[in-house]
Amino acid sequence: MSWRSVYLPLRRIVLLGVSLGLLAASAVWGQGGEPRSFAIRGAKVVPVSSAPIENATVVVSRGIITAVGTNVTIPPDAWVIDGKGLTVYPGLIDGFTDVGLAPTTSPAPVAESGARPQPAISRGPEDRPATTPWRIAADEVNPGDPRVETWRAAGFTTVISAPKGGMFPGQAAVLDLGGERAGDLVVKSPVAIPVSLQAPGGFRSYPGSVMGGIAYVRQVWLDTKWDVQAEAAYENHPRGVERPKYDRSDAALAAAFSKLAVFLIPGNTTLQIRRSLRLIDEWKLPAVLYGAQMSYDVAPEIAANRRLSVLVDLKWPEAEKDGDPELTPSLRALRFRDRAPSSPAALGKAGVKFAFYSGGIAAPKDILPAVKKSIEAGLSPDAALRALTLSPAEIFGVAETLGSIENGKIANLVVTDGDLFDKKTKVKLVFVDGRKYEVRETLRPTEPPKGDLSGKWKLSFTTPQGQEEATADLSMQPDGTLTGSVTSDHGTGSVFSGWASGEKFRFVINISIEGSSSDVVFTGTFEGTSMKGSIQAAGYNLEFTGSKPSRMAAVQAGGAQ
């Protein structure tokens, strides 16, 4: 048998398998037996650290950029990509998210009675409520997080991710969005300690108010500093002295600071920004302000603290989609919505270093349009690009290796067919650590669905607040198009962009979460009357399971929701 008769059918099978794989997902991994050497030839290259270069070539080898320019020798083993009509940018960086981390786990199993388990009651700062600074993002990486793919397909090669939940959720790491094993994604850790002043306790548990949150954080800093002092003193001279108590949080915070992590402090409205500026002054800690959507009002005051950088939340405030038509928003809210996108320009004008982060945006395809809004409101496209690349790299101390297209830096690139901020532009290729990822359009998969998703599904999922349920009332057309609605404690949302193909499905609803409208994406697999998958919403990534009661049961229950 000639090699042809074996190889060609084999190749066909391989190709078939590969193409099926392509159809089922929106992007494909780097093919096995990967080339480690690429050259993009004759493209427009936008290094960010210097002026754009027309008709240039970028050479990537073993994960590093080895050459950039118009007069570049392409190594013979390089996979050459024709860059005509393409633009190469540094891979985009999302300045603060939890993409790439394992989904949030529930605190405790549901009680027999079905009542939502309550978190433990904290009686004071010493109980360290909602405080888990020892959680390190680098240790909780999940390369299988579906958002890794979707963020990457939108042009993001790097994220700064931290665990979510609580006042000190954990330590953030710089992650590159590509790699097989969890550790492969970690670029640097720890880089930041996010802090939230949103007190979770209400009247049940300390802290239960904004001032309580501030007092709590203040006490934690004091305790951390004191612990360091006390421990040093004890080590020096333990005899005759009562031994200092070990506090896990303080130890973790002290360790993180010794590694030069910055702390991220929130401030979105003028009031909050000014307050956080005061707290940063009071606490004298290296800090980065996040939120910053009212910077248009106070940019010079932010600039007054020369060491302060800012992360701007791209989920611009907007009207609720399902609101009461007779309720007019307040003038203050209207002004905020109108002017928020001008904040980045104001920051730039005042000389403040800032970067963007996805914030409340759940679908990465919405990120660049949000940036576009800030350009329309006065930010120069160059400054916008920098805020997505070199600035976040600088803020988190990785600018030596990330954030621009320069010889020797990590090969994180995004290749598009036009200007990044043009809405017609598509991302064609993404390089993460020198691995190439093709990006195809999110085609609707064409394989017919294996089963019928129509009916009323009972979904269960666990949020940081505990177990929740929802009902998805779906109807599926023969070609797999899904419509319907999903009802939960957060309201009812209509299904759009829904499809089922093979055993997979995906649909999106839009509901109001904490006062702003958010896309909630359900992705998963189904079989018969059960389904499972993940939900992405408002920055959360949760697992869910679902079941459809049998027809008989549905009829008996009256079909009521």
Binding site: A319, F496, G515
Partner: protein
């Protein structure tokens, strides 16, 4: 040259005169406000000085934010802003001794019984429209208190209602900070239970006393450990380890050292005496009893202790401990020698404290000036700020309210309110400015709607989206996005002083 300077000064004065009087939502930029206020002459008004009687057809000259002269036929520089006070009444700005306005988030850290580590000063909200509304009611200074959910509550602060200024510019410079205590039904949670939580100690008045005693016992020891430490490092042990700082106990030490005022919410006679007893035991002073609705029963004891009282005009009957409340409380305590003020505890009530003060003429026979003192000089003395405010005297801050009628009447309407010699509320200007605000709102709504329509057109290719659109009603007015939680419930005017809804005082 001189003329030109004068014209410039006049222009500046006019600019500030107009820019300085702020209509409802216009806020000055920081730069404009930092510039010097103009010279103002209020002319030909009835001046209720509070400290030294009434001056008919009198003038007040204001310079550099202070009252420069009070009297008849005063002379003012040519570029002075002249306010014609003919037929009008000028009083010192009202001082509200119990207020919860201008706080971001809950006024209560209601989780623990001793929450002295929290500080209202950290969460002042300069955007609260209640500041403006209370200004429109003649209030110039307010004692912003923590709520009454705890036996020992959070730290408190006195502010001036400088509407338009950032939160950092609100605190009353030099006013001693305070701390809120609460006795009676609220801290012991008689009237509500937190669902899903075990009872919080204390649940009796006995426990309230012990909570306070226990906290001060701890504070006393804590103070001693710091005193010892300070002695040691003053001596040979320069590198001694300091005690761990405890933010809960720091303010209690300040109370023991007389550096922080205690404002104690209380109702019943027995709890008033209890706190006096505990204060005596630990050697601290209760500066004001707040609400103190049964204060009239133990007025002598309050007076003997040198404490003062800040109460309501005529609230009663909403709680068991308020059942014996009488509207004669202020007058009766005054007659027995207690320094008394009348407060609001409520943003709406604070818009008519002049009327509430007037009720003590009817209930208990206070004189006109005695009644006026209840909301001006008396609260100033209680808050230790009487050197600067509380009466119309030369050298004091130009914090004034101008009425169109004797203020001790339901018919008096505030025309202007000044703070630090700047017009922060001007009724005419507010009325005149409303149309512009309406227009701005309308324009912004139209702009947003246009954008929404454009976006809808852009995504019109998705058939699924059409289905989602059908559900929406005529959405020309999108719903507002509210921010943080405020008071959770919407009952028709419950008195703020209850812990029943969790957002309470």
């Amino acid at each position: 040259m001189k003329l030109r300077t004068n014209i410039l000064c006049l222009a500046a004065a006019l600019a500030f005169g107009f820019a300085g009087s702020i209509s409802a939502r216009e806020k000055e930029s920081g730069a404009a406000v930092d510039a010097a206020p103009p010279v103002i002459l209020i002319r030909n008004a009835t001046i209720l000085t509070v400290s030294h009687g009434t001056i008919d057809k009198g003038d007040i000259l204001i310079k550099d934010g202070k009252i420069a002269a009070v009297g008849g036929m005063l002379k003012a520089p040519a570029d002075a802003l002249v306010i014609d006070g003919t037929g009008q009444f000028v009083t010192p700005g009202i001082i509200d001794c119990h207020s919860h306005i201008a706080v971001d988030g809950s006024v209560n850290e209601g989780s623990v019984s001793v929450s002295s580590m929290v500080n209202i000063a950290d969460v002042l909200d300069s955007d609260d429209i209640s500041i403006f509304r209370d200004l429109a009611g003649g209030v110039t200074t307010a004692n912003i208190l923590h709520g009454s959910a705890n036996s020992i509550g959070g730290q408190t602060i006195v502010i001036k209602l400088r509407w338009g200024q950032p939160a950092s510019k609100l605190p009353f410079e030099g006013a001693l900070p305070g701390i809120k205590f609460a006795l009676g039904e609220n801290p012991k949670r008689s009237n509500f239970r937190t669902p899903g939580a075990p009872d919080r100690y204390p649940t009796t008045r006995m426990g309230v006393e012990e909570t306070i005693r226990s906290a001060f016992t701890e504070a006393r020891d804590y103070k001693k450990s710091w005193d010892d430490y300070n002695k040691r490092i003053a001596g040979v042990e320069k590198n001694a380890l300091p005690p761990r700082r405890n933010l809960k106990l720091d303010p209690l030490v300040e109370v023991l050292e007389g550096k922080r005022y205690v404002h104690a919410h209380c109702y019943r006679e027995d709890e008033i005496l209890m706190l006096l007893r505990v204060a005596k035991e630990f050697g601290f002073h209760v500066q004001t009893f707040q609400h103190v609705l049964e204060g009239y029963k133990v007025a002598d004891e309050i007076a003997a202790a040198g404490s003062s009282a800040s109460t309501f005009s005529d609230w009663w009957g909403y709680k068991a401990e308020a059942y014996d409340a009488i509207p004669y409380n202020a007058a009766l305590m005054t007659k027995r020698g207690v320094l008394v003020s009348i407060n609001s505890d409520d943003a709406a009530e604070a818009t008519h404290l002049n009327q509430e003060a007037a009720k003590s003429i009817h209930y208990g026979g206070l004189t006109h000036d005695e009644a006026l003192k209840l909301v001006t000089l008396n609260p100033a003395i209680q808050l230790g700020i009487d050197k600067r405010v509380g009466s119309i005297d030369v050298g004091k801050d130009a914090d004034l309210a101008i009425y169109n009628h004797d203020p001790l009447s339901a018919y008096a309407v505030v025309q202007k309110t000044l703070i630090d010699g700047r017009v922060y509320f001007d009724r005419e200007k507010d009325l005149a400015g409303r149309a512009a605000l309406e227009k701005e709102k309308k324009d912004l709504l139209e702009k947003a709607k246009k954008k929404q329509d454009e976006e809808k057109k852009a995504s019109a290719k998705k058939p699924e989206d059409k289905k989602a659109e059908e559900k929406k009603p005529d959405d020309k007015k999108p719903e507002e996005k509210k921010t943080e939680e405020k008071k959770p419930e919407d009952k028709p005017k419950p008195p703020q002083d209850d812990a029943g809804e969790g957002g309470a005082l």
